[in-house]
Symmetry: C2
DNA sequence: TTTTGGGTGTTACAATATATCATTCATCAG
DNA sequence: CTGATGAATGATATATTGTAACACCCAAAA
């Protein structure tokens, strides 16, 4: 997750391009929130964003953050981790895609995966049911490989 | 979701059997909460459970409900819908399984599906990554078939 | 210039969830 | 039986996450 300046700038620029194409407004606030989410070292909560926003904007209130987050979610520029109440930058905002996350309950590590198998099976399920997903949520809560090993050692 | 008395009793009895096998305690409170979740006409929130619990138990507080819910979740007797902050009874608590839900943002309808394709792809992803899921969360947020049709009519 | 709609500021509050500590209760070893 | 142990519960307070509602601003179109 830890991001260098270069790729951060690239992400922001890319977001700007996308929004222009889509004729939606990536305002300074929204852009700043996107920056904070992407620059964060892992998933970040709305109120943590709010705190960091204080260093840029004078006295922001919760709705400020939530409005920006809603916009960014709609544009697919960020993902929400429902089970963590936290947000992460989207690694490839061009093509809408099922966000798939592995969330380790032991160490807190969150990893985004991009399994075409999962994506395919979700598509198939939609075909079968006539359901049309706007925002797929796939979050596997459990134990990452590393923590399984260190847990085994303890026992 | 709407459940008749017979299947409700069957579910509760089944839960009791399972807990006995597993040597965990399905106390009266936990059983009551399970009953409320299963009897509910759709997903039910923790505070709604709390309200209904008042008719049985004298002056319960939030922790009472959340403790019971935690237990039931661990035992796989209920599912949590992370994106709704609500709970539903598990339709087949014997074998742990990926809970997969289609959640319609228009009409609020929630449908549990059991796609072996999704289950397989999740298993495969775990194999590939060494991650071990304890609680898979699959929630497709979007529009159900019925609402798509009625939306089309409006436009 | 008026209107219109999106975006923002601000205040207050709703909804969801947990920390903490005291108490009870079943179980089991001695 | 008794005391010890750990799980479950009671009770109070508070933390965390998310919205409602209304006023205001500003750019673009009529």
């Amino acid at each position: 997750m830890a991001l260098n300046q270069k790729s951060l700038a690239k992400i922001l620029q890319h977001a700007e391009t996308l929004c222009k194409q889509r004729e939606v407004r990536l305002t300074p606030q929204r852009s700043k929130v996107l920056e904070l989410v992407c620059a964060a070292d892992g998933p970040i909560g709305a109120y943590e964003i709010l705190d960091r926003l204080r260093q840029t904007i004078g006295n922001p209130a919760p709705p400020t953050v939530y409005r920006a987050l809603d916009f960014l979610l709609e544009q697919g520029l960020i993902h929400k981790l429902e089970s963590l109440h936290a947000y992460v930058g989207c690694s490839h905002p061009d093509h809408p895609h099922a966000s798939q996350f592995l969330i380790c309950s032991d160490c807190g590590d969150v990893r985004e995966i991009e399994s075409s198998g999962i994506a395919d099976s979700l598509r198939q399920a939609q075909k079968n049911t006539g359901f049309k997903a706007k925002r797929p949520v796939v979050e596997l809560l459990g134990t990452c490989a590393r923590c399984q090993i260190s847990n085994d050692r303890k026992v």
